[in-house]
Symmetry: C2
Subunit: 389 residues, 2 copies
C-alpha cells in the first residue's frame, strides 16, 4: 500500500561526460568560502583534483581542504573536519569522491553550527538538526551509495565499534547539486566497481523485500534491478564500457533517493549486518553486504515467500511452471548467487577477516529495526553470521 | 545511450488520503493574493472546492477565481485568465482539477508579466519566459497528464485548430507543490478513468519507443508499464479500489516528469496525431491517443522491430521461443489491443466524430518532430488517420 507520504528531492544532478564544467553554474550561487573534502588522494592521481581546484580558483573561491576521508568515515575524523570548518570560511562544502566522502560532508554540514555532540544527537538519538546547515555539493567519483541524492550519512565510532547511519528528514541536508561523470568511475579497480554494484543491488533489495502488495515501487525496483544486472554483466567483462558504467551510475542514484521506498516498510537488515562487519573490519561496504546476503535471505525466504517468488520470476526470469512456490523462490536466490560469483564478489566473511570469536561482538552492534518479514533474534543473527563465515 | 543531461525536479508532492491538509504548510510561503483555477464545477459537487476555499480563508488569502477551464484549454480562455490575474493580486496560482487545469495555470503563470503574445512566444515560437513567473500549486483531481510534476502546458487555438504543447525548460514553470489524493479520483466516471490510464500508458510508450540501446530509462519504463497494467485491471473492475487508484496516480506522475526521458530521443508521434484530433473534436485526450495508437504502432513496428520485440517480451510476457522477431513484436501489440478493449477504450476515430473529410485538415495540423524510428510523411499520416477511422 502506497499510503501517505511527501516526496521532495531538490538535488540538481548534472550527468554525463564533461559535467564537471557545471561547477561554473553552481559556484556563483554560494559565498566565497569553500571547504573541499576528499579521500585518499586518488583524485590527485587522475587529475580530478586539479580540475576542481582550477574551477574553484576561476570562480574566486577561498578553499580550505579536508583530506584523507576514509572508506568508513570515523567519528574522530568528523570531529577534525568540524573543527577545520569552524575555523575557516565555509559557505559551501564540496565533496569530491565516493559515498563515504559525501556522507562525511553531510555530517560536517549539520555539525558545524550544532551546539551538541553530533554523534550523540544525530546518530545515537537520531535527531534532526535545529541549527543552520551548510550547503553541500558533490562531485562523484565512485558509484554505489546513492549519497549524491539523498540525506543519508553513515559514521563509524571506532571506540565503540558502532557504524551507524542516519537518514535525515531535513531536506537542507540533501546535496544542493551533484555532478555525475561516468568517466570518473572508469579508473576504479574491479574490486571497488563490483563492490559498488552489489551495494546498489542491495539497496534496491532492502526496500523490495518488505510488504505484500504490488505497488508501483515494487515494479520500479524490478526495472532498476534488471537494468543493473544487464549493465553489470557488460561492465564486468568490459569495465571501460562508458554506456554500461553510465547506467550503473544512474541506477545507483535512483536506487536510494527515496523513490522506491514509497509505500515500503524496510528494516535494512542486510545493511545492519554489513555495517556491524564494517565497524569491526573496515572492509569495503558492498563486500560486507555481499558476504552476509545469501545466508540472510535464505533465512528470510520462508517468511516472505510470495515476495521471493516474485523476485525469482520478475527479476531472474525463473520459469514458474510445474514448481512449488518454495522451489521458484529458491531458484531466484540460486540465480542471484550465480550472478554474484560471476562478478567476483566476496561471498563469505572469513575473506573479510571475520573470525568465529568476533560473532558475539558483531551481534552486539547489529541493530534490528521493525518493518521486515521476520526481524531476527540475537541467536538468529549469530547464526546468520556463522553461516556467512 | 544515457548521454549528458541535467535532472532537477523541485516539485514537492504530498501524496495520499487527506493530503489536502498540506495546503496549510504551503500557503504561508506565498503572499496573500491567490488565483484559484478550476474546471467545470465538479469540484463544487464533490466538496473539494469547499475544503480548498476554507483552507485558503483560514490562511488569510484574498482569492480570485477563474472557473470553467475546459478539457482542452483554449487560447481565448487563456487571454481571459491573464486579464483576470493582471487585475487582481496574484502571488500564487492554485490549480484544482486535472491536467488541463494545471496546464492552463502554468500558461497563465508565464503570461501575466509577459509583454508579448503568449501564443506566439511560447507555443508557436517555443520560447522560454524572460519575465517573472508566478508560482503554481496543484490539487489534482484527475490522473493522467503528469502536469503536476512537469513544466508542460498544452493550449488549443480554436481559430486555427492548432493544439500545441510546450515543455518549458525554465524550472520556475514547474508546480512548487502538488497535492495528490487518490480519493479525489474515485468519483471520476469510468470513461475518464480509463482515458487517463491510456494517457499515462502512452506517455511511457512515447519515450520507450526510441533509441536502440538498453538504458536505465527503458527498464524503469517497463516497470511503470507493468505497474499500470496491474493496477488498471484491478481498477477497471473495481474502480473504488483505493490501492489501485493510488498506484495509477503515482505511476502517472513518474511517467511524465522527465525521469524516463533521460537518454531517449522522442518524437511524441502518437500525441502529435492525437492532439490534431483534439484540436478538431474536443474529444477526451486519452481517447484520441487510444484511437490512433494501434494503426500508428503497426506502421512503426518494422522500423523499430527490436524495440517492439522487447516490449512484447518484457511488458506483455510474450514467450519468444520458436517465433520470428516480427511475430513476437506483433503479439505484443495484439496483447496491448486486448488490454485496451478490456478497459473499454475508444478504438477508432469515427466514434470521436472524425470523418473522412477531416483527414486532410488533421494532417495539416499534425506536427512531425525528429527523433522517432520513422517520422511519417504527410501521406503516411493521412494513411494512419484513415486506418484509425
Amino acid at each position: 500500500m502506497l499510503g501517505t507520504f511527501t516526496y521532495h528531492n531538490p538535488t540538481k544532478l548534472y550527468f554525463g561526460q564533461g559535467s564537471i564544467q557545471s561547477l561554473n553554474e553552481e559556484l556563483p550561487k554560494y559565498g566565497s568560502g569553500v571547504v573541499l573534502i576528499y579521500g585518499g588522494g586518488s583524485i590527485k592521481k587522475n587529475g580530478i583534483y586539479d580540475t576542481v581546484v582550477e574551477i574553484l580558483k576561476e570562480n574566486g573561491k577561498w578553499v580550505t581542504e579536508i583530506a584523507g576521508v576514509m572508506p568508513n568515515p570515523t567519528l574522530e575524523k568528523l570531529y577534525e573536519g568540524i573543527q577545520i570548518a569552524r575555523e575557516h570560511p565555509t559557505d559551501l562544502i564540496l565533496a569530491v569522491g565516493g559515498g563515504s566522502v559525501c556522507d562525511y560532508a553531510k555530517a560536517v554540514a549539520v555539525s558545524v553550527h550544532c551546539q551538541e555532540d553530533p554523534w550523540e544527537k544525530y546518530f545515537l538519538r537520531q535527531e534532526e538538526p535545529d541549527c543552520p546547515v551548510i550547503p553541500v555539493g558533490c562531485v562523484l567519483t565512485m558509484v554505489g551509495t546513492g549519497s549524491e541524492m539523498n540525506a543519508g550519512s553513515v559514521i563509524t565510532n571506532q571506540e565503540t565499534k558502532q557504524k551507524i547511519g542516519k537518514v535525515f528528514e531535513d531536506e537542507r541536508v540533501m546535496p544542493r547539486f551533484s555532478i555525475l561523470d561516468p568517466v570518473y568511475t572508469l579508473t576504479l579497480p574491479h574490486y571497488q566497481m563490483v563492490s559498488g554494484i552489489y551495494d546498489i543491488f542491495n539497496h534496491i533489495c532492502e526496500q523490495y523485500f518488505s510488504g505484500e502488495d504490488d505497488n508501483t515501487s515494487d515494479y520500479i525496483s524490478e526495472g532498476l534491478m534488471r537494468s543493473l544486472l544487464h549493465a553489470s554483466r557488460v561492465a564486468n567483462v568490459d569495465p571501460q564500457n562508458y554506456e554500461a558504467r553510465s547506467n550503473i551510475m544512474w541506477t545507483a542514484t535512483w536506487a536510494l533517493n527515496t523513490l522506491v521506498s514509497k509505500g515500503k516498510s524496510t528494516d535494512w537488515m542486510v545493511h545492519m549486518l554489513g555495517q556491524a562487519v564494517g565497524g569491526f573490519t573496515d572492509a569495503a561496504h558492498g563486500m560486507t553486504l555481499a558476504a552476509v546476503s545469501l545466508p540472510y535471505y535464505r533465512f528470510l525466504l520462508p517468511h516472505g515467500l510470495a515476495r521471493f517468488k516474485r523476485f525469482a520470476v520478475n527479476v531472474w526470469d525463473v520459469r514458474p511452471e510445474g514448481k512449488s512456490d518454495r522451489q521458484i523462490a529458491e531458484e531466484g536466490l540460486t540465480a542471484m548467487e550465480a550472478w554474484m560469483r560471476e562478478l567476483g564478489l566476496v561471498m563469505n566473511l572469513t575473506q573479510l577477516g571475520v573470525t568465529e570469536e568476533m560473532l558475539e561482538g558483531l551481534a552486539d552492534v547489529t541493530f534490528v529495526l521493525p518493518g521486515g518479514y521476520n526481524p531476527p533474534s540475537r541467536e538468529e543473527i549469530i547464526g546468520i553470521f556463522k553461516e556467512s563465515l
